[in-house]
Amino acid sequence: MERLARAWPPVLSFAVVLLVWQGAVWIFRPAPFLLPGLDRVGQRLVEFGPNWPKHVLATVESILLGFLIAVVFGVAGAVAIVYSETLRRAITPLLVTLQIVPKIAFAPLVLVWFGIGLASKVTIAFLIAFFPVLINTAVGLVQVEPDLLDLARSIKASPTWVFFKIRFPNSLPYFFAGLRVASTLAVIGAVIGEFVGSDVGLGYLIVIANNQLDTPLGIASIFLVSVIGLVLYGVILAVERLCTPWVSAEGGLQALI
């Protein structure tokens, strides 16, 4: 009963959006290439059936690879800048500058470097998703109560113990918050990669559909990209709950979502 009571507001908000959309189609009767109705999008989704898997899998592959590389480099970078003063001073200004540069602007250049195909898409997804993982993990490793570190010194805990038993678990909620942001960014990166440098994938389909004024296909592709993003987000959330059971579902970072 309680779950049901908690579930109705989001269901309602989605229903309202879809209703406004369909209502606009009924009332204003726009040309289908401007705004197709839900029925047309659904119809196209089914029609295109056997062609979907190839494109969906290509996009999923780019997203996952870009995301995983971002996680590996983000965590390694965070540990490096937290533990080495020199590295911190060498890398941090560079990273901040890179973060300020809109990485989407690099997309055409990445295409020149890596050519049409997987490498370009993964690189763009990685570039966009990398920074939040690095920053969040670094913050989580550093933001330990000073008294807790004094306690560790007073009981003569080794640096390894402090890392694995204090800093690492302390960073987990921050790390997962970074992962969640990175997962949505990796989706954006992969789609942009497919806009500029691919002959397969949902991003590629969106461009093609646009060129052919096949708006129902474009919207169906956007719908599938969103589903992929949602699934990835959900998986991360589930792993997060499993790994950080001490973060209360009501009061923690997770509660914001």
């Binding site: 109560e145 008294d147 004094d150 007073s154 009981i155 001490w246």
Partner: protein, 253 residues
């Protein structure tokens, strides 16, 4: 033969932007083994600095601390610390938090688990060994911190405003509890507080520190019978001590 804790002319200053800031004026104090000594004073008088120096967490700029005759440079063995915040590991249960000092020292869990369970009982948390910190109130979390500090059977317990973040009623309750624990274990306790009332209630001696002039202003012997109950606060001598300390803190010499 010196006292258990000998604090000799210990001073500390910090450098902040080419400016030398005095955190603690030359301070001397002796504490006997088994004694409960409170240090009371306003914020900024250097009482926490003094405690950190005794704990070996901060090197003094001048002077020396000896613990049982041995000069303190690094954190010495046989010292348990309770901080103002409970400093618990949120991802560990009460039992696993209490076991932290044994684990960090690489000692066997099997040997210390019964001790930890006894201590959890001693601080009145029986039945909570499997709970996570967020399931406990502030007072209960501080009880966990106290059992953790007692795990390795320290000879000295350093407490830095341990009840400062608690509400007034929980605080009185914790004072009673701490007295009961101290009666049972008879550890030497160095207790930092800014509550005059709490210092008099708990201590054998109260060290009064002031801002100007900085450092130890006076040391009072508290002669009230133990165990002290809730109503000792109405004892004429209790009232007299509190008044005397308040005068020392709020009037310039």
């Amino acid at each position: 033969m010196g006292a258990f804790i000998e604090i000799r002319e210990v001073a500390k200053h910090f450098h902040a932007r080419a400016e030398r800031r005095q955190a603690l004026r030359a301070t001397s104090l002796d504490v006997a083994e088994g004694e409960f000594v409170s240090i009371v004073g306003p914020s900024g008088c250097g009482k926490t600095t003094l405690m950190k120096i005794v704990a070996g967490l901060l090197p003094p700029s001048a002077g020396e601390v000896r613990l049982d005759g041995v000069p303190v440079h690094l954190p010495p063995d046989g010292v348990g610390i309770v901080f103002q915040s409970p400093t618990l590991l949120k991802w560990r249960t009460v039992l696993d938090n209490v076991l932290v000092p044994a684990e960090a020292a690489g000692r066997s869990r099997r040997q210390y688990e019964p001790i930890a369970r006894d201590l959890i009982r001693l601080v009145g948390l029986e039945g909570f060994a499997g709970h996570y910190p967020r399931e406990l109130s502030g007072g209960m979390q501080q009880r966990v911190a106290i059992s953790r500090a007692l795990l390795l059977e320290p000879r000295l317990l350093l407490m830095d405003e341990p009840f400062g973040a608690l509400d007034a009623m929980t605080r009185e309750e914790m004072n009673l509890e701490l007295q009961r624990i101290w009666e049972q274990q008879r550890k030497t306790v160095l207790f930092i507080t800014h509550s005059i009332d709490e210092a008099v209630f708990l201590s054998d001696r109260v060290v009064v520190m002031t801002l100007r002039p900085g450092g130890v202003r006076e040391i009072l012997d508290i002669q009230l019978p133990r165990p002290r109950g809730l109503h000792v606060r109405e004892h004429p001598r209790f009232v007299e001590y509190v008044g005397r300390i308040r005068d020392l803190i709020f009037t310039k010499s």
